[in-house]
Symmetry: C2
Subunit: 214 residues, 2 copies
């Protein structure tokens, strides 16, 4: 949403802005609660309490808990995308893009409540029983990483016969990090974890020329 | 528990065996339900229904839902340990052990309901709010993989400056697999996924001699 500072702004527009602000407050409160207690345990009543609304009042801004979750996960995935672009800084080098993706994912996943919800609720993100919005956002994210790997393979910078599975392995490793790195981890720590992961992924841990054969 | 076929077996022993059998039935029913619907959504009433017991009746055999989960996860982790030993077949080669661990974890995690519960509920497995039993089982599993990697690093078969984090990356990637491989995946498919993961981990996807530097 674009915010204009037009002095001629009319009543309904102002109400629209207030509603958008209220919706953002609701999403932030929900992210914090869900990161702490898990999606299943958080009720609309609890979310409402934090923003001074009844559960009924909440329905003016969101259509339910699943709508909140879908919006949180979609926003988070878009934020990781923007952070990836920022870190890659226009480069088309597959290795630069891969490192940017891994760093961006970890920064957002570890240091933001919504990022922790994304990491903790992969069962929901992948499930068929939740909304198409969630599933589509997850697929966009997975395809972004898969494209980086496939492009690198096409340029022979990477050796990845199955970029889809490679992307899934990397996302699995990434989604595990917030659980063990702790919510107090700094960007410096998450960047160092990102570097270890990228180093393993690129160079492997084997010391021989082809130690995995056989 | 050891099962004796002593013909002098007395009433209480037989009752003990029946109780153990009943407890196993309860655990199997719970694993199936929790794998399908998630730990949070499954109630003791639903588990009881599947084995013909009321929720009150269940309390003769288990002390609650968390007790069931702890037992399921502990059993599963022990099963992965036994399968690792079986696949490694006495070898002390770090690469053989690593491959055995990854294969064993995926076989159990993908093809058994309790294994899927383990993979889906990493938030619980890592959490401080659940039982020590769950946390201890998780740590044993993590330490087992960490030891394989650390031993390989000591023998200079692996280059892994931080075996603890390396183990966590691998476990993250492993825990993600049941979510995308589907519950119908065969042992052949999980072994092939295991092989891709081990190949990435050992050889990396980079084609250059040290493409990750910088």
């Amino acid at each position: 949403m674009t915010r204009t500072r037009d002095p001629d702004v009319t009543g309904p527009d102002r109400r629209g802005r207030r509603a958008a602000t209220r919706r953002t407050m609701i999403l932030n409160a929900a992210a914090t609660s869900m990161a702490l207690h898990g999606y299943e345990r958080v009720t609309l009543e609890q979310i409402g309490e934090q923003v001074g609304l009844s559960a009924t009042g909440l329905y003016h801004y969101v259509s339910g808990k699943e709508d909140i979750l879908a919006q949180l996960l979609t926003d988070t995935i878009e934020e990781i995308g923007r952070e990836t672009d920022r870190l890659a800084d226009g480069s088309v080098d597959p290795l630069v893009l891969l490192r940017a993706f891994v760093r961006a994912h970890l920064r957002v996943a570890v240091t933001t409540p919504a990022g922790r919800v994304l990491s903790n609720h992969q069962d929901i993100v992948v499930s068929d029983t939740y909304s198409d919005t969630i599933r589509e956002a997850r697929r966009r994210h997975e395809r972004r990483l898969e494209s980086i790997i496939a492009d690198g393979a096409a340029e022979q910078v990477f050796r990845a016969p199955d970029p889809h599975n490679t992307a899934r392995f990397v996302l699995g490793a990434l989604n595990g990090v917030p659980r063990w790195a702790g919510s107090q981890a700094t960007a410096v720590l998450t960047d160092s974890i990102a570097e270890q992961l990228v180093d393993h992924l690129i160079n492997g841990i084997g010391t021989g020329p082809d130690t995995a054969g056989g």
